[in-house]
Structures are given as C-alpha cells and as structure tokens.
Subunit: 347 residues, 2 copies
C-alpha cells in the first residue's frame, strides 16, 4: 500500500474543551479502526498526551507524538495567538503539512485560531477569494453540505459563487454525489427575493447554472428536506443556522426526559422504543459527522466541534483521510483555474 493510500493526519491534541483527553481517545479509536487507511500524528504536549494513554500503547497503534510546547485557548484572539505562539499545537500541525510530513490537519480547537493559522500557514488555493467552513448536515434522505458556516461573516456575491464551486467539488468527490444539486439559501423561491447580497449572488449563480447544477433559491425549510445537496450562504446566516440546528437534539431530548419522569407507563414505552430513539439521535447527532472541512486553503483542514467526543474526533480523522485520498484540494484548484481561464476568455 502506497503512502498516499494511508494519509497521515496531524491531530491537534491540545484543541477542544476536553483536550487532550477526548482527542487522544479519538486518535486511539481511529488508529485501531482504520489501521489500514490512515496514520495519526498527535501534535501537542507529550507529557499530557501520555497521561491519557501510555506511550507504548500509542506506539503500538502507530500513533506518533509530535511535540509542541504551547496551545491556543478557546477564548484567545486568533491573530494574536498566531503571531505570538509559533509553537502552538495548531501552528506545529500547519508546519507538518507545509513540510509534507502530514497530509491533513484535524483540530477541535478555537475555530478562529484554526482558520487564521490555516490561512496564514497554508495560504489559499490559487483563485480562492475567501475560504469557507462547510458543515455536513444530516437530512431526511442522507446529508447536505451547508457552507459557509462561519469563516466569512461579511460575504460578497463572488464569495458565494466560489462556495458553490467548492461545495460541488466536495459533494462529488468525498460524498460521491453524482451531479450534486446546488441551492442558494434565501427567504423565498423567487429570483428577486432576499437581501442585495442574495439577489446579486442569485444572478451570478444563474449565469453558470448548468455548470453548477444550480437549482435556484432554497429556504430554511428545505435544508433538511433532502432535495438539495449543497446549500450556499454567507457565514453569518450559516453559523446562526448551524448552532440552532445543533441545539435541537438537546431540546427534544430534554422535553422527552422531563415527560418520562411523570409516569412509569411512559418509561416502559420509552424502553420498548429505545432503538427508535437511538436511530433518531444518531441521525440528528452532529457527532456522527465528525467535523467541518475548511475549503479553499491549500491543504486539508477539518475543524471538529470544541465539545467533540472521542467518536466525533475519530469521525473527523476519517473525514480528513477521505479528503486526502480523493485529492479535494487539487480538484478545487482545477475547477477554479478553469473558471479563471473562462473569465479571462469571456471578460
């Protein structure tokens, strides 16, 4: 098996609310489960890492520890931490990528710090105006890609156009979706709906409707409906929507639990229905997805949730490996340079 077929994932051991514990456990899980598919490099404080799992066990699983002496706190300013903490786990992980010692990065750390470090450390793919964070949202039929969910709060129409191109590439290559349907998130289906940003973005996407397989405007209610594969929006709207969506499973769970306390009959019913609830939870659970790919930077970066469980970390590692195997970065580069050539030819 070639090295390429077993991508090396640089995992930020110090990022996340429960780091390094959940991260190390997730790494162990991934290394065991996907031994033939990937390799894990744990980047962080070796002493802290080895307190979670002994060095011998990690070595047996082929997990390499790459020492870094600093880490970026969840509340720290992204720009400041990047300038000052050149030996932070996320900065070291970035260097592993640029030096060709790793093929992808996974971090559950401070999202702003991860985005800044990736932008400055890896730089953008040629032609990309702004990178986007894409979120994989479970739908009634499968999943859809929602982007951007937080990298670009003040987006321009050209950004949204590129998000559509990058999202399409991701859905095609990683999800294996044939001719993914691309929709623009909006407040109505009609073309003249929405804010100025969305009206202009609609026109831009419509011009290249066939190439993008652009199906037009979609609304909030369509995101989970399963009839669209890539939903394009600005990072403000996407972030608000994603965080709202992530909170729902807790609300539903909490409401049901409270009711169960009222009666033994309810609890017996719930016991009988347990597999149903497990399936529902696993469908709506963002843990299963693992992480959000940062698309547009010149390297593979997967951002995991700050409160990632070991399962979420394992899945984020697997996602990063899939992106490396499918060569997503190169494919985004090809699509965008073709677009640039087209613009030069027509403009």
């Amino acid at each position: 098996m070639s090295e390429k077929a077993r991508p090396r994932i640089a995992l930020d051991a110090m990022g996340g609310d429960d780091a390094p514990k959940s991260v190390v456990l997730g790494a162990v899980d991934a290394a065991e489960r996907y031994a033939n598919e990937l390799q894990v490099l744990l980047v962080g404080d070796g002493t802290a890492i080895e307190q979670v799992r002994p060095a011998r066990e990690l070595a047996r699983l082929g997990i390499e520890i790459v020492q870094s002496s600093e880490s970026v706190g969840m509340g720290e300013s992204a720009a400041t931490s990047y300038r000052r903490k050149q030996d932070s786990s996320i900065a070291v992980a970035n260097r592993l990528l640029t030096e060709g010692r790793a093929d992808a990065i996974v971090s559950a750390g401070n999202t702003g710090a991860v985005v800044t470090a990736s932008l400055l450390g890896l730089s953008r793919i040629k032609g990309v105006l702004r990178p986007a964070i894409a979120s994989i949202v479970p739908t009634v039929h499968g999943r859809c890609l929602l982007l951007d969910v937080g990298a670009v709060a003040d987006a321009k129409p050209a950004n949204l156009y590129q998000f559509a191109v990058m999202g399409r590439v991701y859905a095609e290559t990683v999800h294996g979706t044939v001719k993914p349907r691309v929709g623009l998130l909006n407040i109505g289906e009609e073309r003249e709906k929405g804010s100025d940003l969305y009206k202009q973005s609609f026109r831009l996407l419509e011009e290249r409707a066939e190439y993008l397989n652009f199906i037009g405007n979609v609304e909030g209610r369509d995101v989970l409906g399963g009839d669209v594969d890539v939903v394009v929006c600005d990072g403000f709207t996407g972030n608000v929507l994603l965080k709202f969506a992530e909170s729902i499973i807790g609300v539903v769970n909490g409401t049901i639990r409270k009711e169960l306390g009222q009666s033994l009959v309810f609890r017996f019913g719930a016991l009988l229905m347990k597999p149903v609830f497990s399936r529902l939870k696993s469908r709506l659970n963002y843990e299963e997805v693992g992480g959000a790919p940062l698309l547009g930077v010149n390297g593979i970066v997967v951002i995991a949730h700050g409160s990632s469980s070991p399962l979420a970390i394992r899945n984020a590692i697997h996602m990063a490996a899939a992106m490396a195997q499918e060569g997503v970065v190169a494919k985004i580069g090809e699509e965008l340079s073709r677009e640039l050539l087209r613009e030069e030819a027509t403009g």
Copy 2:
C-alpha cells in the same frame, strides 16, 4: 362590557392555502371559545364563506361578513396587487381598521401583500423606520420573541435597535414578561463578533443597555434555551432560521414514523408514550402560537402562516385581541417618541 374590551378582529377570509375553509372554521372556533372577549368580522367573498358555514350559524355566533370582491394570490407581487386590487380582502380589512370599524387585522395570506397593504394603508407609527415581523418561538421554559423574521431583508443598525424596543414592549405588554431580556443574534458572544451590521448594532444596543435590558450577543443555540426573551436580528437571518425551525417537527415525526413501521414492539411503545409525543408536538408546534405580529405599523396586524389550520387561525385571532386590549401600538408609539426626545436632547 365596553366595546374596547371586546376588540373587533377583521379576518381576511380569502388569505391562506386553504382559504376560505380553514379561515372560516377558525373564525367559528374563536367566536365560540372567546365569545366574551372578541368579535370576528369575516372579510371576503360572502358566497364562498357561506359555503363553509351557513350565514345563519355565523350570525348566531356574532360573526359579521364584510364583502370584498377580490383576493390576492399567494404568488402575486405585493406592490402590484396593492395598486390594482383596491377591493381585495386585505385592502378592505385595512380600511375597516383606518375607519375605526375594526381594532385588528388577521391574515394568513401572501405575507408580502399583507405587509405592503399595512404599510401603505395604516402607515408607520411615528418614529418607526421599518416595521418588523415578530415570531413567537417556543423554548424549553416558555417562549421568546424573534424579530425581524422577514419584513426587512437589508437591515441597518438603527432598524435592529428599533426592533429591540418594539420587541421589549410586546414581551412586556402581551407576554407579561417583567424586564424582558433582550439579546442580539450573533455568531459569538464577544462584542467584536459578527458582520459589520451586527458589530454596529451591538454598539447601538449597548449604549442603551440598561433601558433595553440588553444582555449582549446570543447565538443560534440560545434561541430555544429559554434564557433570552427577545432575540433581535435582520429579516433575512430571522426568516431562514424560522423556516428551518418550522421544518423540524416534520423531520422528527417522519423519522420516528418510518422506524415504527419496522416493528410491532416499537408501535406498542409509541402507543404507551402517546401523551409524551402529543406534548412534545404541542410544544414545538407553531400552530399553537397562531401568528406573527407585524410591529411598527399604526394598527394591529397579525400574520398567520399560509398553511394555517383552524386552530392556528383561532389562536391568531386571540393574539390580535390581546394586542388590542393591551394597547401595544400606543405603547410602542410612546417608547419611540421618548427615544426621539432623548435623541433630540442629547444630539
């Protein structure tokens, strides 16, 4: 009992996907249930209305029919329909209000047409820059007011400031919330988070933090959490979020139903848990709320969902009556003129 204590609600009989049927049934329900609290005026095509319920029955319930010869379709342009259809049910309902023959309007019709007709027919409350549609969102502890959810897609900081003032008045007077907590929807808690619009709005709200009881930025996950009473946002973000939220009950229901088909044990469990599901559904169900008040126009207007059931119509009528009884319009006017005086004094 004075006339004021029994507000007259002008109900747009021709608005809604299933009009006039659901609307008339909702009117009958409201007139029976709230006979001592309100009066219903059904505005629309008398013949069509009487096909749903005979004139005699409506008369017995004190429901008056006000004839209008036209109606605005769900897909029609708001501005065009207002100019051309002076005898549409929504235009006639507006005239009833301006002529003092009704105290509030309820419509499940084309939202754009209702907003335009209200803006042009009733005009804005003095000092109001743009009206907002407010949505009552059920939360884990009770409910919160989310505004704007679609009237102003391109909002300015001053709009968001006024939405906060109007939302506070509504929560205080109609919900009876003492010192409602006002939050700004954003993509992080820190003050420098978000798009330019939200950074500037934060500063504006912060200046008057004590008056507004402004608790700072809230995130998507906080909307259902019950720790904020009024959530302020632009109409684009609010509309996307609301439509997404409305779709969830269907997704959860659909997923559970599909699973139940797999096993008799699951179905028996579900039978035992039926009251739990009913409670969950009624908590998350937007029908129970009834409608969304349009705040900032010089009259009471409640916009019901296009697919409103009779129950939703009934609740929207009751909401409109409560707004009339509490004098919400006058109170918003007082707050905003106080604000204008303050600005003149300080500026």
